[in-house]
């Protein structure tokens, strides 16, 4: 059985069908890329799976448990970690405190008023930071980091409660090419080591073709193709949405020339 099963997912905003009967699966130990042009419905799909939006139709199950109707924080507790398109961390906490915050929440110690939060599982937090290569910067405030580093901290936060599924919305946006490769190699390693399932969106095709096990392609809210990198690359519909069909300007454009 797959880790994440999405069936007939639909969401409309006013008259726009942002996501239209989309179905796909993510298996444990699989790195699934979701690609598509701007406005294809990628972020909406993410927000539906994560619980920030409520779908109009369909079902989303994690290991057979329905996610629809649950709040993001409940979905997190079930083992779904998430990174955002625009990285969100706690600016007034240090790097290690950001990770400790997630550990505190995972240990259900949020309402504890005694004890020092800065002492909570420091070693484990440092180990998580070491995984993403941020241990040397552990004591810096999150507000002064370079954006690429913030994204890595975000990944460490998302990993804090040992998730089974990781949702990464444009994980490498705003990073230098070498950094992108490092981050995705790291993600791939986590997938293999921990049997994690990862669903990610990405605009950089280099990243997608180099690292994804499988791809799904969205366009105008619909799933138009699915398969390995080569299958998707050669799919006529995918070529149409990315490169156009040549019909947009019709005969008139040709006539002018």
């Amino acid at each position: 059985m797959s880790l994440l099963e999405v069936q007939g997912l639909g969401k409309s905003f006013g008259g726009v069908r942002a996501v239209d009967s989309v179905s796909f699966e993510v298996a444990a130990g699989e790195l699934l890329a979701m690609i598509g042009p701007n406005g294809a419905g990628k972020s909406t799909t993410f927000n539906l799976v994560n619980g920030q939006l409520r779908p109009d139709a369909g079902s989303i199950t994690l290991d057979g448990q329905e996610l629809i109707g649950r709040k993001p924080r409940e979905i997190w507790k079930m083992g779904v970690g998430r990174t955002f398109q625009i990285a969100a961390t706690f600016a007034s906490l240090t790097v290690i405190e950001n990770v400790q915050m997630a550990l505190i929440s995972a240990d259900a110690r949020l309402y504890s008023m005694f004890g020092r939060a800065a002492d909570h599982k420091r070693d484990e937090a440092l180990a998580l930071l070491a995984q993403v290569g941020m241990a040397p910067q552990a004591e810096r405030p999150c507000s002064v980091l370079a954006y690429g580093d913030v994204k890595r901290v975000e990944l460490a936060i998302a990993l804090a409660n040992r998730p089974r599924l990781l949702l990464m919305d444009e994980p490498t946006a705003g990073m230098a090419p070498a950094e992108r490769n490092d981050l995705m190699t790291l993600t791939k390693r986590l997938v293999l080591e921990r049997g994690l399932g990862v669903l990610f969106t990405e605009h950089s095709m280099d990243v997608v073709f180099a690292h994804a096990d499988r791809l799904i392609v969205l366009a105008r809210g619909r799933l138009i193709a699915e398969g390995t990198a080569d299958e998707v690359r050669d799919h006529p519909k995918v070529q149409e949405v990315y490169f156009g069909s040549g019909r947009t300007f019709g005969k008139k454009a040709g006539g002018v020339r």
Binding site: R73, W76, R82, F90, Q100, I104, L110, S112, P141, I157
Partner: protein
Amino acid sequence: MTLSGLLVQLLNGLAGASSLFLVAAGLSLIFGVTRIVNFAHGSFFMLGVYLAYALVDRLGTGLAFWPALGLAALAVGAIGALVEVVLLRRIYRAPELFQLLATFALVLVIKDVALYLWGAEDLLGPRAPGLGGSVEILGRRFPSYDLLLIVVGPLVLALLWLLLTRTRWGTLVRAATQDRGMVAALGVNQAWLFTGVFALGSMLAGLGGALQLPREPASLALDLLTIGDAFVVVVVGGMGSIPGAFVAALLIAEIKAICVGIGTVNWFGIDFAFSKLTLVVEFLVMALVLVLRPWGLMGKPQALSRNTAAAEAPLRPAPRLLRWAAALFLAGLVLLPFVTADSPYVTVLAIDLLTAALFAASLHFIMGPGGMHSFGHAAYFGLGAYAAALLMLRAALPMEVALLVAPLVAAAGALVFGWFCVRLSGVYLAMLTLAFAQIVWSVVFQWDEFTGGSNGLTGVWPSEWLADKRSYYFATLALVVLGVLALRRVLFSPFGFAMRAGRDSPLRADAIGIDVPRVQWLAFVLAALVAGLAGALFAFSKGSISPDSMGVGKSVDGLVMVLLGGVQALSGPIAGAVTFTWLQDSVARSTEYWRAMLGGIILLLVLAFPQGIAGFVGHWLERRGTNR
């Protein structure tokens, strides 16, 4: 009540709505474009009344009456422009709360200027020429001047609408209301746009004031009374929406008028005094609207302000130097009564400083790390004070028990109000806290049999072993130090981290399992508990308690203390409370115009130390540290 009586009351309401709308429209315009919550707007209204009085006095009460009103409005507009250019322009990049503090300082200054120019007595203006009489409507007399007012409101609404939709300037104003940064990027000179909007808004407030001259006397209390009403109207209508302000003004003025009209009704053997509701009904309406429609009747969710404060530095345990300084300071506090044995007043003042510090620390707790700006924190101070007094006087509990139970009563109040407040954020949250505080205040103010009404309660003295001021000082010192240390401890605990996490990024907090509203709710209750303790200590130190201890003024005092000290530093509220209370005490004894001096000092501090006193000292120490 008869039908004709109701109709006349409704007409009365319409007349009241007009001036309310003028003030609120100006406030809304200014907020929409500059994002400044202008506390001094009520002062501009007050200036309008006074200037109209002075001009009518000089020009005579004949036909010159009308130009005099217009001139008064224009003059207020000019004063507004001056204030914008000289003061506000310098602090547009400062955090929102600092702008609020600056405009509050203006309130103090303007009040004393008015006191200097026109004296403390209320001044009653002349009747309007030609409209001094009354007309008969359905057999009842109705002032003909009020008919004019009824027309003015819609007229100004129409003119504003034309200005905003039919002129280039109006288009710019509307664009700036939606996205200031984009308008600047298009090459529009923001400085003049802001000045223009501020002048127009002030002029509307001045006009609203001038038009009131024949109806009510010019008085120094008008500024805060008006700003309270105007805030309510703007928030109910939706911040930045002019039609919303009009609808809200109508709604509130009519509901008030109806309450007066109904008077006292007997339902099921119990008397309901609707006329007593007038003090509070607008806040009830606001609370209801904010709970059901958090952006007001015709408002839209605000875009995030782009000039937020720089990210706060992470909390670190106090460095050794600061610990020593704190220990030394504490030792000084313990020795104080012995050192100043020959001037007992110092001990009395020190008790005031201590309770103020505890109150400010509790407000800082939710404002700084909690990220919730409360304009009504005095409610919990007052609840603690009244609970202590009532538990002792009415329930005959020993003073010690009353002192310890009173904070729980304040916390219980916060448990109810906080549940609503944490569903909102930003200015709207601030306004809802204000509304709840106002509701509590008006209940206490009017419930003569139980709370002593406006006179308050007397005979609230501590037990015999604490009767000596010096022993009471030590008890206060112990509890205040305990309270401050407890709050500090919580800030370093997992819960304190969760508070800051929810403030820094609600999105991320939610995504790692933090129930942000719940964390905020609990923080709110904790802050109220400590504020309640401060209130109870205050009540027993004075021996009496009055509704002032929970009024808007007290809430604003708390805000000023926290902001003076600096929101970002843990020692900020202490520094701010001590500075503010000491300034208030020493300046008030040296001059009649203490408000203006206090306001001037606050303005200087705001312009010189945009991070607060403690923030400034902290940065200075840090810089010295890194240089070495």
